[in-house]
Symmetry: C2
Subunit: 276 residues, 2 copies
């Protein structure tokens, strides 16, 4: 593991590391924000942030303004890339499949199955690496945006007990029912839609063994609201299953990082309460 960026930020350090991922079979970069409390010898909770389509580990750390709040609460922030990377990793040429669009699944279909195992990378390999190398307490939370909101919800629902809290901004809540998800799942998981359910938040809710409350932030002027996001499907699934959901609709806000920046402080406070 090699540190490739190291920048003072709100009294702590915004770093980027490069490592060889065994799960993904390639080199990966991930961002770590170490708040000032990391230098006191304390063990700190960790919030994992999953980004959306086209993003790398850079978008969240440069645009969300989350470090200010992480410094206040004493939380480590970890932001991985959104897909495997490298010349020998399959790609599709578009923005919504292949590199930058891993959808946080373990692919079973060719040519994706070799490298596209982002579920296992985010849920297992990366936390193990983080907890071995940084002053992490073992308390974890997970959040993300759009495709990364889908990732946060499904990884939390699939792995009961692993996260103290989960939240999402503008998540794809029902990938099996919207164009982005249908395209990606058909490619990564094949045409059998039964296999898609294990990565669909709305489908997972019904069988969730843990009642981890979901906090979802959604802009009312989001350009993808009706076509790709459809938060009402999550609301209906949670109501049917009696699963706790706080869905906050923010009139006027769109799908951009201006929306995330406006409310990331409330999400960090939410995760801090759950983890400390």
């Amino acid at each position: 593991m090699q540190r490739i960026e190291h920048r003072a930020c709100f009294g702590g350090w915004q770093d980027v590391y490069r490592h060889r991922s065994e799960v993904l079979g390639c080199e990966m970069d991930f961002a770590v924000y170490l708040p000032p409390q990391a230098e006191t010898g304390a063990r700190l909770p960790v919030l994992y942030w999953l980004s959306g389509l086209t993003c790398s580990e850079q978008n969240f750390i440069t645009k969300a303004g989350a470090q200010r709040h992480a410094a206040e609460h004493g939380i480590i922030l970890v932001a991985p890339d959104t897909s495997p990377r490298g010349d020998d990793v399959a790609d599709a040429g578009g923005y919504d499949l292949g590199k930058g669009a891993g959808f946080y699944v373990n692919a079973t279909q060719q040519p994706w199955a070799r490298h596209y195992r982002m579920h296992d990378y985010v849920a297992a390999e990366l936390p193990a690496l983080v907890e071995a190398n940084f002053p992490a307490s073992g308390a974890r939370a997970i959040s993300g945006h759009s495709m990364g909101g889908h990732g946060a919800l499904t990884i939390a629902l699939r792995n009961p007990g692993r996260y103290r809290s989960v939240s999402a901004f503008s998540p794809i809540v029902a990938p099996s029912q919207v164009p982005w998800g249908e395209k990606a799942f058909a490619a990564y998981l094949g045409e059998d839609r039964e296999a898609w359910k294990q990565y669909d938040a709305c489908a997972l809710i019904a069988g969730a063994s843990e009642r981890l409350p979901l906090l979802v932030e959604q802009g009312g002027a989001d350009e993808f609201l009706d076509t790709q996001l459809r938060p009402q499907l999550l609301q209906a699934a949670c109501e049917a299953a009696g699963h706790p959901l706080q869905l906050r609709l923010r009139p006027g806000y769109d799908h951009s990082y201006y929306f995330i920046a406006s409310f990331i402080g409330e999400h960090l406070a939410h995760h801090a309460r759950a983890m400390t």
Copy 2:
């Protein structure tokens, strides 16, 4: 004037406008953040932010996290581009001269003199446009980063009475004495160094008719500290002239937006005190 971006942000609106600049002889984009107070009918103070080399109006609005503080204090933020733009505008091909590197001067030399008049654009044309089209009270402050810190200091010093307060992050305080400034000033202003003094903060301090206090934030690990920035030259000039200066050295911080984001809140509080 045409609005080309409009995004909800911290209860207000992060907009970008395009207009025809008579001073620059080209179309220009500039960013305006309207805090929530702008919808109450109140007239609000305006902070002008000048960005550094290679930047456009986008860098500050996507990376600094200033909107949060502007919303808190009720300040309009205006961030112009860093040079004239367009196919018929002269350029030099590098990052430190020509497009993206206007240095906030009125060029007198060819091929620059036709369009490169960023001093007059920032000090006069843009404020007139802003005050005619937005709920601006007429109270102005100015700040910026690196080349834009140089711009903020020199524009404030050259225009006594026009700004209530001035600050800078990592400014080029003595462009006549460092490589970035020597290259740009030789091109824009010619080889006669006497002409450079009117755009050199350290040279302007001696003749400043107004004792506007300077607030300067400087990272101690800034990669350009000793070669291009040299804040001790400003300190010496202020001491010699009895000009008030608050120079804050921040150990560990570099030249990036992580540094700006970490302290922009203190600068907005400073400007809010001066303007309200």
